[in-house]
Amino acid sequence: RFFPNITSIPPWLNATHGAWDSFRNLSGCHPGEKADGLSKLKNYLKHFGYINSSSNFTDDFDSDLKTAIETYQKNFNLNVTGDLDPETVQQIVRPRCGVADIVNGSTTMNSGKTTQSSNATHIHTVSH
């Protein structure tokens, strides 16, 4: 479907929903909850490299999902909450490139960069 400009798109095409619109229903989910559609979200996160497990996914908001969401939030400059907050869901449903963000468990996007932890601010010295 090629359109020379925006006005040439027939209006009826506008009614179609995007492939990931159903994820909007998961907004507000927290770790420990169970919600229809979380297994589909896990497949999404697996596709883009955020979950390594290949087992059948459940609709449980488990620790693996929390970790995956935290990594996703780091990569997209979101607040790292581990929850499916509205900002995170809004980012997830955006159409995007199909190439994974994390390939073979490796990335140098934000989540793969070494950050200065609070411990690193302590300099251990010995006085003489």
């Binding site: 955006r94 159409p95 490139c97 996007m109």
Partner: protein, 194 residues
């Protein structure tokens, strides 16, 4: 900027790359011209060159529009969702989802149509993958995985330029200026692609 694992790139003896389109797509010259412009953005900053050829079999880079399962293990998903994907060097495959509403001209900022996708913006991004760049966390970079709706984002950011020049060096004609422009958009709160 990021690279694919192992930092694959086109070899030194093959930096003058050819590209061709899937003949079955029967693309118009206007659509092909969008890709020509997209390639020129990358060749402007590196020593790489890109030349269109009619022979898909002989081309280094193969561009095609496909719908659903198209045999590479990465099926497309219909309107929106995944828009396109490309493979790391030296695979050379760039696939776009034929179910999208691809807008070819540059007036997408006037759009109220939320499913409209600017073809050149996606083409520039995917060519970055063909050349060896992965996704970036820098939001104004071409290699950021998503961009807001009704947005045209085709100018390489400094992050993109530094990444590609680390792989292939600098175009001797490149004057060193980098774009700091933000994507043109009338509504940055909504969705779209990358």
């Amino acid at each position: 900027y990021t690279f694919f694992p192992g930092k694959p790139r086109w070899p030194q003896y093959n930096r003058d790359l050819t590209y061709a389109f899937q003949p079955e797509n029967e693309l118009t010259d206007v659509v092909k011209g969008v890709f020509t412009r997209a390639f020129s953005r990358w060749s402007a900053v590196t020593a790489l060159t890109f030349t269109q050829t009619d022979s898909l079999a002989d081309a280094d880079l193969k561009i095609g529009f496909f719908v659903g399962d198209h045999g590479d293990g990465e099926p497309f998903d219909g309107l929106l969702g995944t828009l396109a994907h490309a493979f790391s060097p030296t695979s050379g495959r760039l696939h776009l989802d034929g179910d999208e509403n691809w807008v070819v001209s540059s007036d997408i900022t006037e759009a109220t149509e939320t499913s409209a996708v600017d073809l050149e913006s996606v083409a520039v991004h995917e060519i970055g993958h063909l050349l060896g760049l992965g996704h970036s966390s820098v939001e104004n970079a071409i290699m950021y995985p998503t961009i807001p709706s009704r947005t045209r984002k085709v100018e390489l950011a400094s992050d993109d330029i530094l990444g590609i020049q680390e792989l292939y060096g600098t175009n001797p004609s490149y004057n060193g200026s980098t774009s700091t422009t933000t994507p043109s958009s009338e509504n940055e709160g909504d969705t779209v692609y990358g």
